[in-house]
Subunit: 162 residues, 2 copies
Amino acid sequence: MSLLVRAATDNDHDAVWRIMEPVIRAGESYALARDMTRQDALAHWFAPDRSVFVAEEGGKILGTYYLRANRSGPGSHVANAGFMVADKAGGRGLGHALCEHALATAKARGFRAMQFNFVVVSNDRAVRLWQRMGFEVAGRLPRAFDHPRLGFTDALVMFRLL
Amino acid sequence: MSLLVRAATDNDHDAVWRIMEPVIRAGESYALARDMTRQDALAHWFAPDRSVFVAEEGGKILGTYYLRANRSGPGSHVANAGFMVADKAGGRGLGHALCEHALATAKARGFRAMQFNFVVVSNDRAVRLWQRMGFEVAGRLPRAFDHPRLGFTDALVMFRLL
């Protein structure tokens, strides 16, 4: 896959929103309001404390992730990242490539670990992928996610050292 | 204890900062930069998504807490709260009273659970208090807190239903 992962620019907002919108509207994986506006979603993804990257192939943006410090001050050595992939790009190793880029970037920036705060257990493709990428389940939040089909569902805290 | 717990107003900013400053400067319990300014600290504590309360006794503010939804949308039924108590007010049941107020307020507002995202394990008074208040350890974040004396220290995710 001739995939380029690069820093996002303002020119990528349309493409990032095209990826975000179906994920947010589905409401099955992120704790974001399903009716969130484009403006609010982009403000969230591109918040000032985040670095946003996109994965591009043949000029098309297929996925995006953000990287940030999960906490401030004495907690700022632990990174956090969030990933979204275009509907059609599933099953092609894109999540793996984005996560590998995020881990390398986080390490290069001096982070010592990466934490995912809220991985919905029913999102088993994500759970399995993060486990393959070296993340361990550090905690389980009972019924913390209100899934549109499954109802109240557990969410995982996942963690790995860098 | 003739303690009044009430919603904070703008007039409480000085008193809240007097409580926050030593906690932040000590850097032993919150993942907030130790050199955080008064303005940044108050903007954080009184962020728009939070309700702030203070505990008052004989006209003196002895403690404060904030209450908010821990996450948005499909995660917004889980509350989050943070507590700070004046140095001199330790050991008098103030933390207990504040937490009880927070749990009752959260329940009245329709939250179904409360989550603490980051309880530093070396803060054993807090850990024991939250356990007495019905919180369970839902997760453990290895070396996620850089303690000024103890170095890298684990932090707990604690959770209870309402």
